[in-house]
Subunit: 324 residues, 2 copies
């Protein structure tokens, strides 16, 4: 800014007035400043606006891994809806690790982001305090609740009930799950929901039929392998997401386990490859593009002044293909 | 900034000196300014730095579609290497459309991005002039050449030769391709390379065995359908990428065409679902994570002062699976 002042032959204060538009400045002075800005090859509008409004046009997408197709599609949906209003979507890959989750939230505050869309794994509601205190809108995309924040959540009760009823009807009464990590904040609501629905049907999901790990292909492979090594193994396994289910299919192929003859599999999400793998994956469809659109809508409403937190529920459907 | 000046009881010029660090200011004054910044709940460091250095910490990733797993993995590789040095990766989905490609380049200049990684479809070298004039490093990830820019390119000669030799050895002499769009800048270098290698082996890729379209699943489906409707159809089809090849598999299933018995298929990239589809996709492996890492390295070198443009070649390998 002092370079601009020097070239324009005015004070830094005057440059600040011209760029911020906060005070009237003589037209000739204003022109001199803008000429100087052009001469210097600088286009300071955005940075000046950030200083003026205390807000950038960046929205952080804080997720474990953008290469997971669920998050890649969520990103596409978010970007599609935020491009028009002039926002940019910034990728923040956390690998579901708390230090990275915290580091990105700190960046969001330091750099005055316009908003955050986050799938937190190891964050408590209190960890969002600095972001909220800075007045930056947060949208959580997760199954567990974080007090006072806008959220996009799956509404999966009917779909899980349908899947459990299908299990009971086909005589698969040993219900297991490859669930999320034990130390995740909020536990694993997908496991909780499965247990509730199984109980309503008169069955249990016993601890020996549950394995826990990250939401990755490797964890799915390892989890399936452990479940099948038990003296009695489940005959239907719900997976915390499709990526995990694909890992389970990897293990089944290696171990010579027939899916669905020996054990049925149910994924979660219906990402693009769910219908590409063989056998085709039966899954609980939770469309990531819709999640991205809903998150964009919640963010936009907040920026426009909505005060109370809101939850957007997206219906999940039970999609039967070949693994169950 | 004028708010900070008011609260701190100093001039805007003084605030500018303190935040930019350009001139020495009394310690007590400096403390007053920083206290005011804290009180206002603003953390202006980044915006102030952008004004000072004329450069933000944002790197634009300008690609047709982040939901294409090739670009999602490229994004993950780029983000992984740029996070340490303090850069953020911004998603810019162009749908391969020129107006959006140009709009994102304009944003990059206006907002003083620190760099651009781009897979351009409808841009000429001249379209990059404003970005270059602004001194913003550009890395192109594409098969065709753009003068004077840093590039990551596939080195696919040996791999395509191996694939063509395999075709000839197995008596598949009617070589076809589902290629990229006709109006793309630079044409389709993957088609050119296939033609050169086929010619070296003594064969042609005749125009009636070539269809052109976008790099999408839908285009692969439509292209395969058109090729198979010809009086004589190819017995091996190269696809411009894996997503297109999956579209071809969709069409084959619908049409009752056996792959590879009736026609063999070769993809390009080896994205994660190439080994998940059935039959498993034979492909030309061009690993997106490596492309992301190479692009990050080229950007970093430029920021550190390298003057001449550089090209990073990534070896492509012929991966044989079940479609050929």
């Amino acid at each position: 800014m002092s370079d601009v002042a020097r070239v324009a032959g005015v004070s830094v204060t005057t440059v600040s007035y011209v760029l911020s538009g906060k005070r009237a400045v003589a037209e000739s002075t204003s022109q001199a400043v803008h000429r100087a800005v052009d001469e210097l090859g600088f286009t300071l509008n955005t940075a000046a606006r950030t200083l003026r409004t205390g807000r950038s046009n960046l929205v952080a997408l804080v997720v474990p891994d953008i290469a997971n197709p669920f998050y890649a599609q969520l990103a596409a949906g978010l970007e599609e809806r935020l491009r028009g209003p002039g926002y940019h979507v910034v990728i923040c890959n956390t690998q579901a690790r708390r230090p990275l989750e915290l580091a990105f939230l700190a960046d969001v505050v330091e750099q005055r982001f316009a908003g955050v869309v986050i799938t937190p794994f190891r964050l408590k509601a209190a960890d969002f305090e600095p972001v909220r205190a800075a007045g930056i809108p947060v949208v959580v995309s997760a199954d567990h609740w974080l007090d006072g924040l806008d959220q996009v959540v799956p509404d999966a009760v009917a779909a899980v009930r349908a899947a459990v009823e299908h299990a009971v009807a086909s005589g698969r009464l040993r219900i297991g799950m490859i669930a999320g990590p034990r130390d995740a904040q909020g536990g694993d609501p997908r496991l909780d929901l499965l247990r509730v629905q199984a109980a309503e049907a008169g069955y249990a999901v016993p601890e020996e039929f549950v394995v826990r790990g990250e939401h990755t292909r490797e964890a799915g492979d390892a989890g399936f392998t452990r479940l099948m090594s038990r003296p009695v193994h489940p005959d239907v396994i719900f997976c915390v997401n499709d990526v995990t289910a694909v890992g389970a299919l990897d293990a089944a192929e290696r171990l010579g386990v027939q899916v669905p003859e020996d054990v049925a599999l149910v994924g979660h999400d219906d990402v693009v490859f769910a219908s590409l793998v063989r056998p085709r994956l039966t899954t609980l469809r939770y469309p990531p593009l819709d999640v991205g659109h809903a998150a964009a809508a919640l963010l936009t409403e907040r920026s426009e002044g909505r005060v109370h937190s809101r939850t957007h529920r997206i219906p999940v459907t039970f999609v039967q293909r070949s693994t169950f």
